[in-house]
């Protein structure tokens, strides 16, 4: 893993958003992860490196009353629980903050778990970029 340590944001450090970009390799396929850390919420885009599309987006948050995790798909297929929604709910449960997730990768039953495992590893290793 290589890291570039240049920070590229200006304004009030307490308020300014933090963004990052990383690449995951599953077999010979490349996936791009983009994250935007805001105040109390995180937005994440995951998609094939080329072409990088935006087709789906979901949001999940924890209800202040009972702590229940509520998620919904706001862009893309609404008929069933999307990968974006599932991941948004999972990250909200894990990190305790609102998550917007846009999952745009073409995966099958073989690559999906591998990609998810690498994404989890990436987030664990770079936790400060997400929360």
């Amino acid at each position: 893993m290589t890291e570039e340590n240049s920070t590229d944001h200006c304004g009030d450090a307490n308020k300014a958003f933090t963004s990052s970009q990383g690449q995951l390799l599953v077999g010979d396929k490349k996936y791009t992860v983009r994250s935007l850390k805001m105040n109390g919420a995180t937005m994440m885009f995951l998609g094939s490196a080329e072409p990088e599309c935006l087709d789906e987006m979901a949001v999940a948050m924890q209800m202040p009353q009972d702590g229940q995790i509520i998620g919904t798909t706001i862009l893309g297929a609404q008929s069933s629980i999307t990968d974006s929604q599932r991941l948004a709910e999972q990250f909200t449960r894990r990190y305790g903050r609102q998550f917007f997730v846009s999952f745009n990768a073409q995966v099958d039953r073989m690559t999906a778990p591998l990609l998810e495992k690498q994404l989890n590893e990436y987030m664990r290793n770079n936790k400060d970029l997400f929360v």
Binding site: M1, G11, D12, F17, R34, L36, A41, C53, Q118
Partner: protein, 139 residues
């Protein structure tokens, strides 16, 4: 190792600036099929709108049909369809989005775009300032 690289600037443009004296965060990224734009003074995503152009841009249609025409005696907006995907759907926000499409490089978008627009005091002066910043953000 599966992870090949990490960069600390994840989008085409991400900046923080003062709009009408209020700290404003702007994030822009051109995906292959959509542009993504977030303009917020609330420190988070206030809403999310999908904007589709009713006429395909740069498809040979004359400017008089595609818009915008910003002439003192004759004004024509870019025909768009705005859908609220998330957050409070307010008329002022929709008007703001239409204004920004008419008055900034947003109307160069080849496909459709998603925009989150969270401005504390939405008025003409603020929107003009945002349009000016957008012209620099969208290369």
């Amino acid at each position: 190792m599966c992870i090949s690289s990490v960069k600390t600037n994840g989008f085409n443009k991400q900046l923080s600036c003062k709009i009408n004296g209020v700290e404003t965060e702007i994030v822009f990224h051109a995906f292959a099929n959509k542009w993504f734009l977030l303009i917020t003074q609330y420190g988070r995503v206030p809403n999310m709108y999908s904007v589709q152009f009713d006429l395909k841009r740069n498809d040979g249609a004359p400017l008089a049909v595609q818009g915008p025409i910003n002439h003192p005696q004759f004004h024509m907006s870019v025909p768009i369809t705005i859908t609220c995907n998330f957050g409070a759907d307010r008329d002022e926000t929709r008007s703001g989005v239409q204004f920004l499409v008419n008055r900034s490089k947003l109307n160069n978008c080849p496909h459709e775009f998603m925009i989150g627009l969270g401005i504390k005091e939405l008025n003409g002066e603020t929107l003009h300032e945002i349009a000016k910043v957008l012209d620099e953000v969208i290369a």
